[in-house]
């Protein structure tokens, strides 16, 4: 359960950085690097999240669909 909570928390951070990027895209009108920086964070955290899921799976902390 703790592991799933962490996964959801990171997903929340990913969504937050995505929408912060949207905000700066509208506000800064292309004049700053804020948008591309937030999007870089977004992709970095997403890849980190996938790696975490795969590590969690290998260590038996989480299982896809119990069939």
């Amino acid at each position: 359960m703790l592991f799933k909570t962490i996964v959801i928390f990171i997903l929340f951070l990913v969504v937050s950085s995505l929408f912060t990027a949207l905000y700066s895209m509208i506000k800064d009108k292309g004049q700053s690097n804020r948008t591309v920086k937030m999007l870089t964070m977004r992709i970095g955290m997403s890849i980190g999240l996938l790696i975490l899921l795969l590590i969690g799976y290998q260590l038996g902390w989480i299982n896809p669909h119990p069939v």
């Binding site: 959801i8 997903l11 995505l18 949207l22 895209m25 009108k29 292309g30 948008t35 992709i43 669909h65």
Partner: protein, 293 residues
């Protein structure tokens, strides 16, 4: 052509809105006419719907092409720029609501309505009298087993590969974005090309996965609540990947023609952001549909 008066941008009269209206009308009229009139569920002739879709595509191509031409010839002022950005916000708002509805349907079925059928909450009699013995385990096609026995897709295999492909395309589009910001046109073009190519691979693998689901797993759109939520979510996501890839393809062609600068590139940034959005939707899908049961 455009005229400016008192700082307000006044576009010249255009035939594109009426072309779009006619296209949409013919498309929806064609669709409604083809809907099954009897309970056998057979769709009628959909030719008119396709003609409407072709007119809409023609309108989009022509209208956007004209806007790009006007933008490149320097006709637009700061106010037009703001209106483009606000339009993007509303477009994204509608997209978020769209996916929220389908994710909402998944959560509602999984956390509430299916457990109720198995007797949870104050529904003990529902289970005892109507669906005796139904345990409500997810994934399910309901107590009546609508669509027959099915198997689900394993998270390992194509769904995992598709996640890796889409996340890699998120990397390449970010790399292209940095290329534009640093006035490195080669990096911009290469990054966009790789992103579009990865998007195409994703859609192809998704199509392969659907064929596998239909032929080998008996997992279909008609497989009860699981089948319908699975295909509606992944199918509409796939459609959005296709739309995003078309947008980025246009950005690729425009980059090759020398459009966009480090300070003036809203179309690119909006399309790139949209790609990130579609990527995050997939990540959410992958995690909720395949992992967090």
């Amino acid at each position: 052509m455009s005229t400016q008066s008192g700082g307000y941008y006044l576009p010249a009269p255009s035939h594109w809105p009426i072309v779009g209206s006619i296209g949409l009308f013919i498309m929806l009229f064609g669709f409604a006419s083809a809907l099954p009139g009897t309970s056998d569920g057979e769709m009628g002739n959909m030719t008119m719907m396709y003609i409407g879709m072709a007119i809409v595509a023609f309108m989009l191509f022509g209208w956007f092409g004209q806007v790009i031409g006007e933008s490149e010839s320097g006709k637009y002022n700061a106010q037009v720029d703001t209106s483009f950005r606000m339009s993007m916000v509303w477009f994204i708002f509608s997209e978020v609501m769209f996916f929220a509805a389908f994710f909402g349907a998944l959560f509602y079925a999984r956390q509430l309505s299916v457990p109720w059928l198995s007797g949870e909450g104050n529904n003990a009699m529902t289970n005892a009298l109507l669906w005796k013995g139904y345990a409500g385990d997810w994934p399910t096609n309901g107590p009546a087993s609508v669509g027959g026995k099915f198997e689900i897709m394993s998270a390992y295999g194509i769904p995992l590969w598709n996640t890796i492909i889409l996340l890699t395309s998120g990397l390449t589009v970010t790399w292209a974005h940095w290329g534009l910001k640093k006035d490195n046109r080669g990096q911009l073009i290469m990054g966009l090309f790789l992103t579009v190519a990865l998007g195409a691979v994703f859609v192809a693998l998704q199509a392969y996965e659907y064929i596998h689901a239909y032929n080998d797993l008996n997992l279909k759109l008609t497989s009860g609540i699981y089948g319908s939520t699975f295909f509606m979510l992944t199918g509409f996501h796939g459609l959005h990947v296709t739309i995003g890839a078309i947008m980025l393809l246009v950005m690729l062609f425009r980059s090759m023609k020398g459009h966009f600068t480090a300070k003036n590139h809203f179309a690119f940034e909006a399309a790139a952001w949209y790609w990130h959005f579609v990527d995050v939707v997939w990540l959410g899908l992958f995690i909720f549909v395949y992992w967090l049961v």
